[in-house]
């Protein structure tokens, strides 16, 4: 990794400080990127945001209901049992079960979010 092999480098940690005083540049709304400029009609954005938020909240509620209630549930179930003696089922419930659940929820959310975007942009 000598100096001669060093390619041209760009710093992308942010804008240079020199233009701080000026108005903030339109960052990703760059013509070269072909991004949509300020839309005259805000309705599609609001529509998309509502649907995306609903999908995100569905995933979160699922997470809260499954994993979020688990500590209370375990506490209630083991309250009658003997101290810290943890049955194998609890080990599997905490050590194995959450990961497939998280992966499936994530995969479902991505499909849903991409469909929502497709509906709005017509692609």
């Amino acid at each position: 990794m000598g100096a001669e092999s060093v390619p041209r480098r760009e710093v992308v940690t942010g804008r240079p400080r020199t233009d701080r005083a000026g108005p903030p540049p339109a960052r990703a709304v760059s013509p070269s990127g072909g991004r949509p400029a300020v839309p005259d009609d805000d309705t599609p954005v609001r529509f998309l945001m509502r649907r995306q938020l609903r999908a995100a909240l569905t995933a979160t509620v699922l997470l809260a209901l499954s994993l979020g209630l688990l500590p209370v549930l375990l506490r209630v179930l083991t309250a009658g049992g003997a101290g810290h003696d943890v049955p194998l089922a609890v080990w599997l419930l905490l050590g194995v079960a959450p990961y497939p659940l998280l992966l499936c929820t994530g995969a479902w959310y991505v499909r849903r979010a991409e469909r929502n975007e497709g509906d709005v942009t017509g692609r």
Partner: protein
């Protein structure tokens, strides 16, 4: 553990890292503009890199040590570390990528057009980064102490120097390849020994561990201590001693009566098979640091449920604000790819964390003496030698040591990069962005110094505390900034200051040892339960009160964050991205 093999393992990992880095550099040299080109990193490769960077010493060593010490409750740590990515996926991943922000301060300024918000966010990023670096450096100290017998602060210093040199030399430009490689290295370093350990465990008639009673030595075990210990023995036990016990130099058999015993530094105790493990006295100044477990063990007895929910809130909501994670999302080509990256990350982290509890359980069986010395974090490292032994055990031990080394290197270098980026840009204005390399020095020197100063204090679960600070400041900023048009700069400032500030204060008090027990300690050690709602409430209420300050560009920003990018051909991808960056001569 065998020192030669361990050192060989660590050296091999460092060498392989440099090699893969050089390879990545060769590939990246074909494009003139490395960073912009890396916006076309495919989702799967990027997911390897995110996972490689994210799986830190706390995951690789700490979780197994916690399970060893405290049992199944500690599995909430890996669950939280993984579930945080699901919350990030659902609310943040795609919009954050579309915002074009490289750091959280960048995002804050782009969304709110306020320098004040940016400055506060910068301070918080540096705080979270330093908190996260502390336990990594301590873990490095632990490994090097076990491998070479060097003092604990030395290992942290070595890692700090290696990372500083690597970052400053520019070797981290190939960071994507290095980190992707390190994910697979870490997974292999746990998976391969786990297979052999399970075989050895079955051959040992598969004993079941127990957490409800005092652990016993499954085999006759020799325990060497390098610092003074105070032990509580409940029933008389016959041991062999080389060293000093209760102030008397001894060399030979001895019966330890019930009661407390002081063991001098440099003493070796030999326990017979089936003897209960004497535990160190809690709380006294002579006790060993118990690593990740300490603040929990104090609070968990009376406030278990509160602590569990504090942990869940902090990790579920805090992941999205970790500076080194956010940076990696910028390298995705677009928002959709950022989402797909995150799903793959969920799978990769799950695969890794499936293995970790195994080490904790086997550690409870075969390395209970770690409870005695307080080095429970070393469970993963010592198990191959304990269970398998011989050259095979040495080789597997070297593999595990190498994996642990990869865990520090990837996380520490990623964090140093992101903290240095913020320091160079926002905190050290006189240096300017050309002096990015200089900023790496304070970025890592401060946590290194802190880790040498506070070695005997319960700093090791600073990872959990870093998550708590992130969850109470950046989580409200990101969620409200992305999903609510009504967020105003004063509201964001209030939320960041109240949520992040109160969590940071609680964390500082905890680390400084302000409250050592009781409900106050529990409240401060797990601040997320109250500081996250405080941050959200302050942000929403002040924003509503200052409605006239809503940025004029809010609608345009929302469109940018949420509308998908127009399709780009892969051939035009590297050049088509917005050129926000500025060239710098190396």
């Amino acid at each position: 553990m065998n020192q030669t093999y361990g050192i060989a393992g660590v050296s091999a990992v460092v060498l392989a890292t440099v090699l893969v880095g050089a390879l990545g550099l060769r590939i990246s040299r074909t494009t003139s503009d490395f960073y912009v080109a890396s916006r076309s990193v495919p989702p799967r490769l990027n997911a390897f890199a995110v996972s490689g960077e994210y799986l830190s010493a706390a995951s690789f060593l700490g979780v197994a040590g916690l399970v060893l010490a405290q049992g199944a409750d500690m599995l909430w740590f890996p669950i939280g570390y993984t579930a945080g990515f699901l919350v990030l996926l659902a609310f943040v991943a795609a919009p954050l990528r579309r915002s074009g922000a490289y750091t959280l301060p960048d995002f804050a300024e782009a969304r709110l057009e306020s320098r004040a918000v940016r400055r506060i966010a910068s301070v918080l990023v540096v705080g979270v980064g330093w908190l996260y670096l502390l336990p990594q450096l301590r873990g490095a100290g632990l490994i090097l102490r076990l491998l070479t017998g060097a003092p604990g602060w030395f290992g942290g210093l070595v890692v700090a120097v290696v990372v500083t040199v690597a970052v400053a030399a520019g070797g981290m430009r190939s960071i994507t390849f290095v980190q992707a490689f390190q994910y697979w290295l870490k997974l292999t370093a746990l998976l391969v020994p786990a297979v052999f350990l399970l075989i050895a465990w079955r051959a040992d008639r598969a004993p079941a561990p127990a957490w409800d009673e005092r652990p016993v030595f499954q085999r006759s075990t020799r325990v060497a201590t390098d610092r003074p210990l105070t032990l509580t023995v409940h029933a008389p036990v016959r041991v062999t001693v080389t060293g000093t016990v209760d102030g008397r130099p001894l060399d030979g058999p001895l019966t330890l009566g019930a009661g407390t015993h002081r063991v001098g530094p440099g003493t070796t105790l030999g326990f017979p098979r089936g003897a209960p493990v004497p535990l160190p006295d809690g709380g006294g100044p002579g006790t060993a640091p118990t690593g990740w477990a300490q603040p929990l063990s104090a609070g968990r007895e009376q406030h278990g449920l509160y602590a569990t929910y504090g942990l869940i809130l902090a990790t579920f909501l805090g992941t999205m604000g970790l500076p080194h994670v956010v940076v990696r999302f910028y390298t995705n080509p677009d928002g959709g790819a950022a989402r797909r990256t995150t799903v793959v990350v969920l799978g990769l982290l799950g695969a890794f964390y499936l293995l970790v509890p195994l080490y904790g359980v086997l550690g409870r069986l075969y390395a209970p003496d770690l409870l005695l010395t307080g080095d429970t974090d070393a469970a993963v490292l010592v198990l191959p030698q304990r269970l398998i032994g011989g050259p095979g055990g040495d080789l597997l031990g070297a593999l595990v040591a190498g994996g642990a080394c990869a865990a520090f290197l990837s996380t520490v270098s990623g964090l140093t990069m992101s903290v240095a980026g913020v320091l160079a840009q926002d905190v050290l204005p006189t240096l300017g962005i050309r002096h990015f390399r200089l900023a790496t020095l304070p970025a890592i020197a401060v946590p290194t110094a802190a880790s040498t100063v506070v070695t005997d204090l319960p700093v090791a679960d600073a990872v959990g505390l870093a998550f708590a600070v992130s969850a109470s400041s950046f989580c409200p900023l990101l969620l409200l900034g992305i999903w609510w048009r009504g967020l105003t700069p004063p509201g964001a400032v209030a939320g960041l200051l109240l949520g992040g500030g109160s969590a940071l204060t609680a964390v500082t008090v905890t680390i400084a040892g302000g409250a050592t027990s009781g409900p106050l300690h529990t409240l401060l050690a797990w601040p997320a339960v109250w500081s996250v709602p405080a941050g959200f409430a302050a942000m929403v209420l002040i924003s509503l009160a200052t409605r006239h300050r809503v940025p004029a560009s809010a609608a345009a920003t929302m469109a940018r964050l949420h509308l998908p990018e127009p399709p780009r051909g892969p051939a035009t991808a590297p050049g088509a991205g917005p050129k926000r960056s500025r060239e710098r001569r190396p």
